[in-house]
Amino acid sequence: MSDPTQLTLSEARDALRAKKLSAGELAAAHVAAIERADVLNCFVTKTPELALAAAKESDARLARGEARPLEGLPLGIKDLYCTKGVRTTAASRILDDFTPRYESTVSGNLLRDGASMLGKLNLDEFAMGSSNETSAFGPVVSPWRRKKDGGFDDARIVPGGSSGGSSAAVAARLCLGATATDTGGSIRQPAAFTGTVGIKPTYGRCSRWGIVAFASSLDQAGPIARTVRDAAIMLRSMAGHDPKDTTSVDAPVPDYENAIGASVKGRRIGVPKEYRLDGLSPEIAALWDQGVAWLKDAGAEIVEISLPHTRHALPAYYIIAPAEASSNLARYDGVRYGLREKGRDITEMYENTRAKGFGAEVRRRVMIGTYVLSAGYYDAYYVRAQKIRSLIKRDFDVAFAAGVDAVLTPATPSPAFAMGEKGQADPVEMYLNDVFTVTVNMAGLPGVAVPAGLSANGLPLGLQLIGRPFDEETLFALAAAIEAAAPKTQLPEAWWVS
């Protein structure tokens, strides 16, 4: 086979079963591609030895006809997932050489089903960021480039965040798929920025156990992959009840792949008027209209809906997420694991350790969270934000009760930008990236970003579909319909290969 890294995950799976390709060849091709792509900085830690050893076991199983669902498929794992015996950093200095003695439930589920790990993928520090520029291990570079004068501009484009290593590695064909996490848009925004598919499932669909916590009532695991089908295959293995996470839901996991190609005839798609923000770029507005037209052509019924509290979602998020982060990140105290800086007494040891270990964005969010939870402010900020969260959820409940099956919106307010272009003077400018995605986390709903075309300057654009709780199947069916209708996009030639 010419270059197995060009296969999708499902094509690779089928080629392995048809014996047209060995797991050894597939793993070796990805290991080689990763070695040549250091300029993209996708990986914090590479584990070629694990992928190659797993491939041997997979080839033996394939030969015996005992293939598991993901047998022999090499994946990347976001470095927020604890991996047994492999350093886990959350892209922060404060975790130092932390090497878990256990495996996160979701990455363990993928290994159980026969997948292998090529390495740990870079991210924004503690998943706090929208451009992967806050990583202590340096920014990730997108394989995409802006068009300029018939060629390409060499400005380095961000892959989105926080799952920027996941999105860039999948887009650049360094792995067949990757795990990611989403607290306010961290799966869907990087997927949209890189022309990949990312799904944040319903809160509770995947276990959070063993994933470094950011904001526990919002965090959810999900895959980034190159096709809707590949995302469906991965999510089926990742999802499921886990007694170790009391918020994970004890409900059967459907075979999501069956939803690919299912008819969307007669499905009711809500188009929320409040998402048509003042100053929405005409390019994004046109993309959205195009998405409506594609679904209509596929037989869906389009209805305008109202989600009146949409505009409050992002400010409320920037109270709730930092508040929960300040509590979760209290564990980084220099005592049990990670970095320790000396101090004259224990308080100074904590303060020095946390000042040295946390980057600027993490410090900002911990401080905001600490402030909004502090005595005298808790009701005014945190409780109020949680009430607004009830209103946001109620908006969706009303729309679904009126018969809407899914909601269609843009995934991001703009295409990807170049490094250093946003958030330098004002952190809020970067936060606005999540304006279309954050409502979904606030309401605990599933949301998928699917590629829909290219911007005028040649960068990918994505659409988002939001579903009813635990109805990921409808999202996969609708996303597959958009994928089938959307123009096929082409990455620039592999300029990053060294």
Binding site: D96, F98, R101, Y102, T202, Y203, G204, S217, P243, T246, T247, V249, D250, H309, H312, P315, A316, Y318, G334, V335, R336, Y337, G338, L339, R340, G343, R344, D345, T347, E348, M349, Y350, E351, R354, A355, F358, R363, R364, V366, M367, I368, T370, Y371, S374, Y381, R384, A385, Q386, K387, I388, R389, S390, L391, K393, D426, P427, V428, Y431, A443, G444
Partner: protein, 95 residues
């Protein structure tokens, strides 16, 4: 809401994060910008609205009250920056 230098110091101490004097003015501006961004929430009518505590109606699962894990001192201590036998070591906290 403007965050002055005294408040920056207070929040930093509550957060157990040391701040350098040179960072205080910039941090004050950044925190003020974030608080200004969330200020619009004060205009929302939330009377009679319950704060959301769980995104989905679900009953917390219970398990039998038995020991089902443990005895892993070596695993727990494996990543400690400083340890002695089966203890974490911290600076002296009692005089």
């Amino acid at each position: 809401m403007s965050v002055d230098s005294a408040l920056v110091h207070r929040i930093a101490h509550l957060s157990r994060i040391k701040v350098e004097e040179a960072e205080v003015a910039r941090l004050g501006q950044e925190l003020s910008a974030i608080l200004a961004f969330v200020e619009e929430l004060n205009a929302v009518d939330v009377s009679g609205v319950e704060p959301l505590t769980s995104v989905l109606p679900m009953k917390m699962k219970q398990r039998f009250d038995v020991v089902d894990d443990g005895g892993k001192a070596e695993d727990v201590l494996a990543n400690a920056p400083e340890r002695e036998d089966q203890y974490f070591v911290v600076p002296k906290v009692v005089e």
